[in-house]
Amino acid sequence: MAHPTRRRRARRDPARILLRAFAGLVFFFLMLPLVVVFPISFSAGSYLRFPPPGFSLQWYERYWNDPIWIDATIRSLQVGVATTVLALAVGIPLAFGLTRARFPLRGAIEQSISAPMIVPHIVLSIAIYGLFSKLGLIGEWYGIAIAHTVLALPFVVIVLVAGLRNFDLNLELAARGMGASRFQAIRRVTLPMVAPSVYSAAFLAFITSFDELVVAMFLSGANMTLPKKMFDNIMTEIEPTVAAVSALKILFISILLLLSLRFRKAADTPIAH
């Protein structure tokens, strides 16, 4: 779009160079914490030390051989998947309802859906803790999944509503006009077209749950999730097992991110909210 000459001039512009240098510095600041956990996780030393005194896989082995860490990981994956399924099960009809027809209070309903995003997590956590301890749900993995769904639902609905608003309803009507049943039209035409938003929503819901600490701190009891186990470890012991777990988590999230980008390559906006 820009003329080559203009671009060349822009490249030599001192203000532009300054801007680039500043942005580079900020990118360094943003990436630094992600990068440092890798060398620490391969440390041969017996405590946190930089630079690491040598290479070893001892912290990865310690993670792998400790049933408490593995249990926490499995529990977190389980809670994350359950949260994703539940948030989509509740969120997809909700998003369809909000975008398909006008009815009284629709605007108010749509606004109130995002309320869990504004309420501080600590407040919501103790509120749900109060309710769940009465119901005897403390320590149950599905209790955490239900609570995480409350946190994930706004993100899921916002992403799905945006996707559905972009979808041309005439396509579905055309399918019905050509004899498809309502259900068939949605399944064969609408869902494939809004699939990228569904993938984004699923990814958001999973990450919301998989990284969540404060709610899990109250609800998990003795059955810790991975973030709770990490938090406890950081608070009590000064050794790099957490660095190994962190490195694995960064890798895991990167893979998920790449997968979800592949799934939703049709969409043009960067994954935000």
């Binding site: 009809p93 407040v123 109250f218 938090f231």
Partner: protein, 300 residues
């Protein structure tokens, strides 16, 4: 009321009773689709919060609220929380704006790389990042190691367990939340506006003041609102990087419930925190609704 709503949606042509009925049925169907979600949020979001509120005024006394405000301790912590949130928001805005500007005006390749460098930390767990800051800022951490080795300092500096560490960690978490709305505001501005202004002799500062700032104001307010409101409720970062020396209100609420089982008092603290959060949210939204023309405010 629902028929009136439904008719407004369609063209103004005269319509038969059948169409009106069909629309009414569609509206009812759409409403029914939202029902499970609304029930879910009612039971697991609204009800627990109302119960918490009920606990804070249990027995019809305002004694717990009196304690929040009577004791200088808690008002100090609220003020500190407010101060830190303000600091984090200001820093994120000052750092985030140039970065968003860079992303919006650079080549597509650099934009893609830049976005990857912003989004990867964004998706990485806050706990992982906070732990990494502990490695970087600690007494035997990377920064101290570097400064000692090159002779810049003689004794390791104390950076961890200070307000500086807390603010740094929080800015790191909140920066992408600021950059994204700013980016989408800046990218919508026609670059020819700035070129025309420059051609007519405007300085860079003038161009920023007269073109970029007013046209991105809604993005600024969106980012500021989000960062400030979320910062007020931070728990993980101050708990780990503050090391018990920097107390924010979320930590007090957690402690009151988990250690002292002081539900009524924790309820009162929560209601006050929630009220402050909602007030900030409301004021900023109000302000933007009045200040920013609707055409420019469509980003929110």
């Amino acid at each position: 009321m629902s028929t009136a709503d439904a008719t407004r949606a369609g063209p103004p042509a005269p319509r038969s009773l059948r169409v009106a009925l069909a629309e009414r049925r569609a509206a009812l169907g759409a409403f029914l689709l939202t029902a499970p979600g609304l029930i879910f949020l009612g039971l697991l979001f609204a009800m627990p919060l109302l119960q918490l509120f009920a606990l804070s005024v249990e027995g019809g006394t305002t004694e717990w609220y009196a304690r929040v405000f009577a004791d200088g301790l808690y008002t100090t912590i609220f003020l500190r929380t407010f101060e830190i949130a303000l600091f984090v928001t200001g820093a994120a805005l000052l750092i985030g704006y140039p970065v968003a500007f860079f992303l919006a005006t650079t080549t597509p390749t650099w934009r893609a790389i830049g976005f990857a460098l912003v989004m990867l930390p964004f998706w990485t767990s806050v706990l992982v990042r906070t732990y990494a800051w502990m490695i970087i800022l600690g007494r035997n951490g990377i920064v101290n190691r570097f400064l000692l080795d090159y002779g810049f300092i003689e004794r390791p500096m104390t950076m961890l367990n200070t307000r500086f560490a807390v603010v740094l960690g929080m800015v790191h978490v909140m920066l992408p939340f600021m950059i994204l709305p700013l980016y989408s505001a800046i990218v919508r501005i026609d670059p020819d506006l700035a070129r025309a202004a420059r051609g007519m002799g405007a300085s860079r500062l003038k161009i920023f003041q007269r073109i970029y700032l007013p046209l991105t104001l809604h993005g600024v307010v969106a980012g500021v609102t989000l960062v400030f409101v979320v910062s007020l409720g931070f728990y993980i970062t101050p708990a780990l990087l503050g090391g018990g020396k920097v107390t924010m209100i979320a930590m007090v609420i957690e402690q009151q419930v988990r250690e002292f089982l002081a539900w009524n008092f924790a309820g009162a603290l929560s209601v006050v925190l929630l009220a402050i959060t909602l007030a900030v949210f409301w004021v900023l939204n109000r302000w933007v609704a009045r200040r920013v023309p609707p055409a420019a405010g469509q980003g929110r």
